[in-house]
């Protein structure tokens, strides 16, 4: 065993890369659930974003265009879900699962011509001055732009949800849709917007896997990341900063345990392999022990407008 072989700077850098896809998907889903809708189609939207983002990235040579396309694709797919559950009142759980199945199949179809193709490289952003700070600089300020974008999205989500009128309305719709409706708020419109936001975030999360983390297109490549994101939302009690904590914990420990294995640390591999799940759940549950952290009151319930 030789822990000196693990370079902490490289480790922290790969930690952020490993966490970003889950973070993006989870923060989007947190907003969807805050509005009272449970969308289990995260995995399907992620994988669709992964393939569409990859296709656009390869064809234009610009990963940024890939990310925009992935967001649009994820949002478009989520609108399918939105129309089904909000207008046609289909069951949210079943429709969400259906969306995942649909996304997996659709992405395999779109992705056929893209197997074995190399992704365009995304330039790293070295933030002037800050990136030159010793130690901290390389860890914090030398990443690809999407890492910063994902952090900004978390900050904005927190701000909008807790500090603005729009956020208050969204939460109101999620807590009690009948009351919100009686007050004159457009429940369905608010929810559609939340679902579109969730879809766009999941799409970008998927594209981050195919354009940055792996980077290439492989069928089924999200391999359950969407389900991890869903779990993190719940354990994070639907709070943006805890979602960030959960995603970074999970991503970080996933990478750390691989490094510890390679370094030959005398901890049984089975324990290392389960540690990302175990520690993430433990930490988030312990944080949530105090206070009221229940789910949004109308989560998953069907909304019939009464006149």
């Amino acid at each position: 065993m030789d822990l000196g072989q693990i370079n902490p700077l490289l480790l922290l850098a790969s930690l952020m890369v490993a966490a970003t896809p889950i973070l993006l998907a989870a923060i989007g889903e947190a907003v969807v659930e805050k509005s009272g809708v449970l969308n289990l189609g995260v995995e399907g939207m992620m994988i669709t974003g992964a393939v569409v983002g990859f296709a656009f990235g390869v064809n234009t040579g610009a990963p940024s265009i890939g990310f925009v396309a992935a967001a649009v694709a994820g949002a478009a797919l989520s609108m399918l879900f939105g129309v089904l559950v909000l207008y046609l009142k289909s069951n949210q759980v079943a429709t969400g699962l259906g969306l995942t199945l649909f996304g997996l199949g659709l992405s395999a179809l779109i992705g056929k011509p893209y197997e074995g193709i190399k992704a365009p490289t995304m330039a790293k952003w070295e933030i002037p001055l800050l990136s030159d700070i010793p130690v901290l600089g390389p860890i914090m300020f030398r990443h690809d732009p999407m890492v910063y974008v994902s952090l900004i999205i978390v900050a904005l989500t927190w701000y909008v949800l807790t500090r603005t009128r729009a956020g208050l309305i969204l939460r109101g719709v999620g807590e009690n849709h009948n009351a919100a409706h009686a007050l004159g708020y457009k429940v369905i419109r608010v929810r559609l917007m939340a679902i579109a936001f969730g879809g766009a975030c999941a799409g970008m999360g998927g594209a981050y896997i195919s354009l940055v983390r792996v980077p290439q297109w492989v069928e089924g490549m999200t391999a359950g990341a969407g389900w991890i994101a869903l779990a993190i939302v719940v354990f994070a009690s639907w709070r943006p900063w805890r979602v960030l904590l959960g995603a970074y914990l999970f991503g970080g420990i996933s990478v750390l345990q691989l490094n510890l294995q390679a370094a030959g640390v005398p901890i049984p591999v089975e324990i290392l392999a389960m540690s990302p799940y175990l520690i993430t759940i433990l930490v988030l549950v312990v944080i949530s022990l105090r206070g009221n952290h229940g789910a949004p009151g109308s989560l998953g319930r069907e909304f019939h407008a009464t006149h």
Binding site: G220, A223, N259
Partner: protein, 361 residues
């Protein structure tokens, strides 16, 4: 997760069967895959075998498959396939072993073929390839190519097949480079590109300049390509899109002749439960082209090793070899037996020199 995977599998099965309810006299051959057919590796090659069956028998045969079946929940999809009238079912991952036997007991008239396992019954054959022969060739090239003397190994699950591969690669790397060191990461998955990429990156960050993988996707190849100076080998499939570098050679699984022969046996009514374990000689294991990124003399040695393994003149596990704890395993000149105590089929120990522990399964 389990529930979802079985849902996925059932839905995939339903779609696969929807267009296939006609023609009763056709021989119906089913395949259960652990990953998606587009993984570019393991499942991709099994599906090529399925296509070969279709090509060989045309409209006399009908094939169906279910992809991405969870190893922990395979009974459902296999049962569905048997219920839908399949005559012959190939289950193509080690983890499907017990599920295959359980379903086979309920359907005595259906023939089953389980890949890489060791439990046979009247209507369950087992078949596998001697991948460790290919690993010997890889180990030789890896030992010659590494400059840091650190070889990274992405392992999947601690089962005999994977352990044999690690041992064989290590023995032959050590033979040509006594300073070589193996760093092994257990990914506990056959297919998860993001995790495979992370594992490859962790190994590269810790100094490995050769990566061997026993997982199914091409993600480690992409990670090596990005690093720039890291050698890889195609796993299960040629992965030729990463040649000539980082991929300098590969192990190719060629299931097609076996699948065609077994389907023919069912059609002729001559099918019997057998245990097949073929290597380079029989063509079940292929060594993909060794590229020019490998020095000419190393390439020639590797090809000579391949040919000696194929002809049977050399065995990949030839003594003197000790187990990891120093106890003798094979005496000078002795070769490992397939079965029995310390046989290859149930291999559960590392050879001497590997500094790591095998996790309990």
């Amino acid at each position: 997760m389990r529930v979802l995977k079985s849902l996925l599998a059932t839905a995939a099965l339903a779609t696969g069967l929807a267009g296939a309810a006609v023609a009763e006299d056709k021989t119906k051959v089913g395949f259960i895959y652990v990953g998606p057919v587009g993984d570019g590796g393991w499942t991709y090659e099994h599906d090529k075998g399925r296509q070969a069956v279709e090509a060989a028998f045309g409209d006399k045969v009908e094939t169906v498959y279910v992809e991405s079946v969870s190893e922990s929940n395979a009974e459902g999809p296999i049962t569905q396939m048997a219920l839908s009238g399949a005559d012959l079912i190939f289950t193509t991952s080690f983890g499907f072993m017990d599920a295959t036997l359980a379903v086979a007991e309920k359907f005595p008239n259906v023939k089953f073929e389980h890949a890489t396992g060791y439990k046979q019954s009247d209507n369950v054959s087992v078949y596998s390839a001697r991948f460790y022969e290919g690993r010997a060739v890889q180990g030789h090239i890896a030992g010659k190519m590494t400059k840091s003397n650190i070889i990274g190994y992405i392992a999947s699950f601690p089962i005999p097949e994977v352990i044999r591969g690690i041992n064989s690669a290590y023995i032959h790397a050590k033979k040509v480079n006594p300073d070589v060191q193996f760093k092994i990461i257990w990914a506990y998955t056959w297919f998860d590109p993001a995790k495979e990429a992370d594992a490859a990156k962790a190994l590269i960050e810790q100094g490995a300049d050769v990566i061997l993988q026993h997982t199914d996707s091409t993600a480690p190849q992409a990670a090596a390509k990005e690093a720039g100076n890291v050698v890889t080998f195609g796993q299960a499939s040629d992965m030729g899109e990463y040649a000539p570098f980082p991929r300098v050679s590969s192990i190719i699984d060629d299931w097609a002749p076996y699948y065609v022969a077994r389907t023919k046996a069912v059609m002729d009514g001559t099918w019997e439960s057998v245990s097949t374990w073929d290597g380079i000689g029989a063509g079940m294991v292929g060594i993909g082209e060794i590229t020019d990124a490998v020095p000419a003399d190393v390439k020639a040695e590797a090809e000579a090793l391949r040919d000696a393994l194929a002809s049977g003149e050399y065995h990949a596990f030839t003594g003197p070899l000790n187990k990891q704890d120093g106890t003798p395993w094979l005496a000078d000149g002795e070769t490992a037996s397939d079965y029995g105590d310390d046989g290859l089929a149930g291999m559960s120990f590392y050879v001497e020199g590997i500094e790591a522990e095998i996790p309990s399964n």
